[in-house]
């Protein structure tokens, strides 16, 4: 047993945890023999204290970059780009129309991956996300076609339904304490079944078409979801011969698809919310240790339920954009999107167990997904290999994330 601690003794003067880093941060060690180890001697730095800080920072910058959840997915995205630039660089994949092709695929996935990512950081899954896409798409398409509703109203109704189902999902999970995996698996089947059944009842078929024209006539809906934006810019660039044009002088790509704008908006807003607000801190806390979070006054239930609702909102947005783009709603829309969204989030460094991750990572995960899925068609490789690649990528990402988690939680 130690002797009675001297009250005048500052706690820091005894070696605390016996790690090298803890030892070396003590100013007296820095001033002396450890001096030469300083990578960049601070110019004109006053006493040893700031010098110690300086050194700690220069050491941890590399560590911090490596430890960030999104760094692996950014590296992966760069790698994927390099590989496709080498194998399909002259195939038109990186011409404007090619870029738009894979950007659109990434953007659709990116929207739902953002929702899935936040929910995963909070420690929950939503497997009903894909079925929600089919369901809300059908909900938006049937009333205008069969009851003459304005499209904006049916879309609003679909949104209300999505938020309500998200709320039910979340409330069931937080009230019962059941795993969200099983609760939302239930809704995966309920919603998919409902979509099929309703489309058969009202339309007597599983694809309801004709909604695209109605949507294009609705000024609000057209403004929000249909077609492209920045068309003038593209026309102008086409006139100057900077981008490919058709024979009549119009640009080959008429404008930027709105889904890309939505993706950027959702991702930036969610990322900002996660890292820069109180609510974001609560998301991390809830996913990291719900009990600890509750004990310090974080409204755990409210955080989880609102994230289930946000995920449902993302699915709704996906469906609305898709309905306007494709011009129809179908009962099999969004099939397996829940898994793709989770894969994008995991590739982006989000832990399956929650408490760690980033929207930026999920964004790059979605980008990798889109680039590979579309890019593979530009190469000689059979596109069946896409899924093999995807599964492999997922495994690599999970193994990597596991290492990151170990480093963060177990290093002493």
């Amino acid at each position: 047993m130690e002797s009675q601690p001297d009250p005048r003794l500052p706690g820091s003067s005894t070696p605390g945890p016996q790690t090298a880093a803890a030892e070396s941060q003590r100013p007296e060690t820095n001033g002396g023999p450890a001096g030469p180890k300083v990578v960049e001697p601070p110019p004109g730095a006053p006493p040893p204290q700031p010098a110690a800080d300086e050194r700690v920072r220069s050491l941890s910058t590399f560590h911090r970059v490596m430890g960030r959840p999104e760094s692996a997915s950014i590296a992966g995205a760069i790698l994927v780009f390099v590989v496709f630039a080498l194998t399909a660089g002259d195939s038109g994949m990186f011409a404007l129309d090619g870029v738009i092709n894979w950007s659109v695929v990434s953007a659709y996935l990116g929207i739902v991956a953002t929702g899935a990512c936040l929910l995963m950081i909070a420690g929950e899954f939503d497997l009903s996300l894909g079925s929600m896409i089919g369901f809300t798409g059908m909900m938006a398409a049937i009333p205008p076609l069969f009851f003459g509703w304005p499209v904006w109203l049916s879309m609003l109704l679909a949104l209300a339904c999505a938020l309500f189902i998200g709320w039910v999902n979340g409330t069931l999970v937080v009230k019962t304490g059941l795993p969200s995996f099983i609760v939302t698996l239930g809704f995966l089947f309920i919603l998919r079944g409902l979509t099929l059944a309703l489309s058969i009842i009202f339309a007597n078929r599983t694809i309801v078409s004709g909604i695209g024209d109605l949507a294009a006539q609705d000024p609000v809906v057209r403004f929000l979801f249909s077609g492209t934006f920045a068309n003038e810019l593209f026309t102008w660039a086409g006139k100057h011969g900077w981008i490919a044009t058709l024979d009549d002088g119009r640009p080959l790509v008429r404008g930027m698809p709105k889904v890309i704008l939505w993706w950027a908006f959702i991702a930036i807003a969610a990322s900002y919310r996660l890292t820069h607000t109180r609510f974001g801190n609560w998301i991390f806390a809830v996913g990291g240790d719900a009990n600890a979070a509750k004990n310090v006054g974080v409204p755990v239930r409210r955080v989880k339920v609102s994230l289930f609702m946000f995920t449902a909102l993302c699915a709704w947005l996906f469906a609305m954009l898709q309905v306007c783009d494709v011009g129809s709603a179908a009962a099999d829309r969004g099939l397996q999107k829940e898994f793709e969204a989770i894969i994008a989030a995991v590739i982006g460094g989000t832990l399956l167990t929650g408490g760690y991750g980033s929207v930026v990572g999920a964004t790059f995960g979605a980008l990798i997904f889109g680039v590979v899925q579309i890019g593979i068609t530009y190469t000689n490789v059979n596109s069946d290999w896409f899924r093999v690649f995807l599964g492999g990528m997922l495994l690599v990402a999970v193994l990597f994330n596991n290492q990151v988690r170990k480093r963060v939680t177990e290093a002493r």
């Binding site: 601690p5 806390a285 240790d289």
Partner: protein
């Protein structure tokens, strides 16, 4: 609540009993916490320490007896009531999230915000990091980097972080539930130093432990619990460490055990 300087004691439990059905968890226990002292509650497992903490923390209400804060009887209905009166409890699980940074943990649930453009209220991360570092430095803990994950800290450092957090959020009375239970000798010494720091800041501390060797160096007075009853409160001047040890149920047991093994006591 403004402290009432007229009362010598900041917390008083007068003849408190707590029954759970037919189980007598506590009977006629009296504990008085002086301002600015470290009061150790000693007792073996099952002595009623946890029940006592929960009464002090506002989780339970005593079945009989009175609970006074600043000399005035109070009825605490929830842990929030206790917190409002400046009574903060640091439980064994510490309520820290290993994956989150020091600064984020420090302000978890009580994040400082700043307004941007009059509309957005943002989590003021710079200020959070600064305050967290300052407050930990106050307690003699140097944080390498406020962005480092709590998971990379040692058990002792985590305990200190939880204590520093409680003090920062207005604790006048700090209730520490077995803070040294899972720690090694050096780590425990650090935590004892932190307790001493807290006392120097004028904070009253209730230190729950079953380890006399941890309690004796830092404590000003000692209350011994055994099987739901108090065996009395002693000032440090009145009692020696071995006497405390003997009075605890464990002390007697150890003596018996040593006799059994043929060790001369």
């Amino acid at each position: 609540m403004a402290p009432n300087p007229n009362s010598e004691f900041i917390l008083e439990l007068e003849k408190v009993s707590k029954y759970f059905g037919s189980v007598i968890a506590l009977r006629d226990v009296t504990v008085r916490l002086r301002r600015g002292e470290v009061h150790c509650l000693l007792g073996d497992n099952g002595a009623g320490k946890s029940t006592l903490i929960k009464i002090l923390a506002g989780c339970h209400r005593p079945t009989e007896g009175t609970f006074k804060v600043d000399g005035e009887p109070v009825a605490l209905n929830s842990p929030c009531d206790a917190l409002d009166r400046g009574i903060a409890t640091v439980y064994q699980d510490l309520a820290l999230v290993p994956l989150m940074s020091v600064a984020r943990n420090f302000f978890m649930g009580r994040e400082p915000t700043r307004r941007v453009g009059g509309v957005f209220r943002l989590f003021d991360r710079a200020r959070a990091s600064e305050i967290a570092c300052d407050k930990l430095a106050d307690m003699g803990i140097k944080v390498r980097d406020p962005q480092q994950a709590v998971g990379t800290m040692s058990g002792g450092e985590r305990q200190c972080l939880a204590i520093a957090r409680a003090i920062h959020f207005g604790a006048r009375v700090l209730i520490l539930d077995e803070p040294t239970a899972a720690l090694g000798v050096r780590q425990s010494a650090n935590v004892l130093r932190i307790i001493n720091r807290a006392r120097e800041k004028g904070i009253s501390v209730i230190f729950i432990t079953h380890n006399v060797h941890h309690a004796y160096p830092v404590g000003d007075s000692f209350t011994l619990l055994n099987r739901g009853r108090s065996m009395g409160t002693f000032r440090k001047t009145e009692i020696a460490r071995d006497q405390v040890l003997d009075m605890m149920a464990g002390g007697l047991e150890m003596q018996k055990l040593m006799a059994e093994f043929g060790v001369r006591v």
